[in-house]
Subunit: 267 residues, 2 copies
Amino acid sequence: MAASPSTPTTLSPQTAAVPVQAEGSGAPAFSPLYQQIKSLILQSLQAGEWKPGETIPSEIELAARFRVSQGTVRKAIDEMAADNLVVRRQGRGTFVATHAEQQVQFRFLKLVPDLGEPGSEGPAQRDVIDCRRMRASADVARALALRSGDAVLQARRVLSYGGAPTIVEDIWLPAAPFKGLTAERLADYHGPMYELFETEFNVRMVRADEKIRAVSAAGGLEALLNVAAGTPLLSVERIAYTYNDLPMELRRGYYRTDTHHYHNTLG
Amino acid sequence: MAASPSTPTTLSPQTAAVPVQAEGSGAPAFSPLYQQIKSLILQSLQAGEWKPGETIPSEIELAARFRVSQGTVRKAIDEMAADNLVVRRQGRGTFVATHAEQQVQFRFLKLVPDLGEPGSEGPAQRDVIDCRRMRASADVARALALRSGDAVLQARRVLSYGGAPTIVEDIWLPAAPFKGLTAERLADYHGPMYELFETEFNVRMVRADEKIRAVSAAGGLEALLNVAAGTPLLSVERIAYTYNDLPMELRRGYYRTDTHHYHNTLG
DNA sequence: CAGTGGTCTAGACCACTGG
DNA sequence: CAGTGGTCTAGACCACTGC
């Protein structure tokens, strides 16, 4: 059933027929068709062919474009849905995942109130304290895969729930992809920061690693969080990645855990 | 194509032909065939028809037993593999997941050394300090879905890496399922506790929820962990569940985070 | 009612493991 | 070499959405 090499009847620029298999060298590193399809779709996603919240072409269309069966496209999309890159909605289509959806926000904010449901406090109040352009220190550069001295944006903000300051976050971003981001733009945007990144800078955060420690409130944190100096705080260091495992954000958060806790599920 | 109601040619006790659909009432609550198959396999798993580490029947066998196509069985097993209930190995078969595998252990112990790879320190030294039978307090009872006053086992142990005490854990277990568990049995077992639970008590932990906070070392913890009183520690409260979302363990851990950190990935 | 994703089947063939 | 899971196809039909 190999794809017959007739003239491509579809409009795809990058492929008239999937590579099928790179035979020839010693270890061919077998890759199933649906994986190749998956990475092709991924490329279109990165290239911005379809933006967050939009639908991607139907399975039948994609099958025609790539000259494979619908079942193969289905398996590729199944995996992308499992990776939270895409959301399937029966009867409507398949949509590019976006941080504008509430459920996605909770996947990236694990601090929940001790009492009540995760979202029961209403939206956080976000106060940007500081935002400046600077040169990357050695450890910031390493985290963001930059060189020491490269330009970065740094911001500090406080998140409050029900009027109570609960989180202080220091955020570092590579300056180049976020060209034009200012303190005003940050302060005026009332909504998730990752949503802003999507709509304004075409940067979609896909995954993040967090390192969590217990530390003592000091160095001004105690004042911002309205706790006594020495109060134990949760320190959460996050590196967030876009599509190609490309780090795009370093974030150091300090969480009060007297009224909230970090929730995690092990499976 | 519906399953013909002939005599069951297979040995399955609980099903000669899958329920197909519970029509009749107002909202039939449609459930696809592969979901029904999945829950049937799940029942066999709970009943201990196949033990952790053993293979389950091949897809072809299961398809014959349930009188469905191999593809339908495959989809059921695919989901169970995604849930880490089962592990597929091409060419060999499908195996019941077990905590005896190293990779599984890291899914349930998220504290990793700041330097070096997750397993680089070698196995933890486990010292059981205490183990006693007692009556459940209100909050322990609630966590384990027992009644206040029901019998529980309580244990405290210290985990050390490279000779340095790093974790103190208080553990509560419902006494009934763990009948016969003694301090000696715990102390003499050199290996993951959840592995012991599987082999000795036929209790397999499948999932766990953790609540993480920052606290100050006090009440004897500072001595056990060899830190100054007031040192910030990570407090990790875990409830672990077996197959039916049945809570089977409450665990309160206190982690040193000066040499280690809790690692988490957000997707 | 047309279009989408979701389920189910049947069959062919491939990749991997073990005896 | 037989048996397992893994891939791919083709086609039928179902459930859901929106016009």
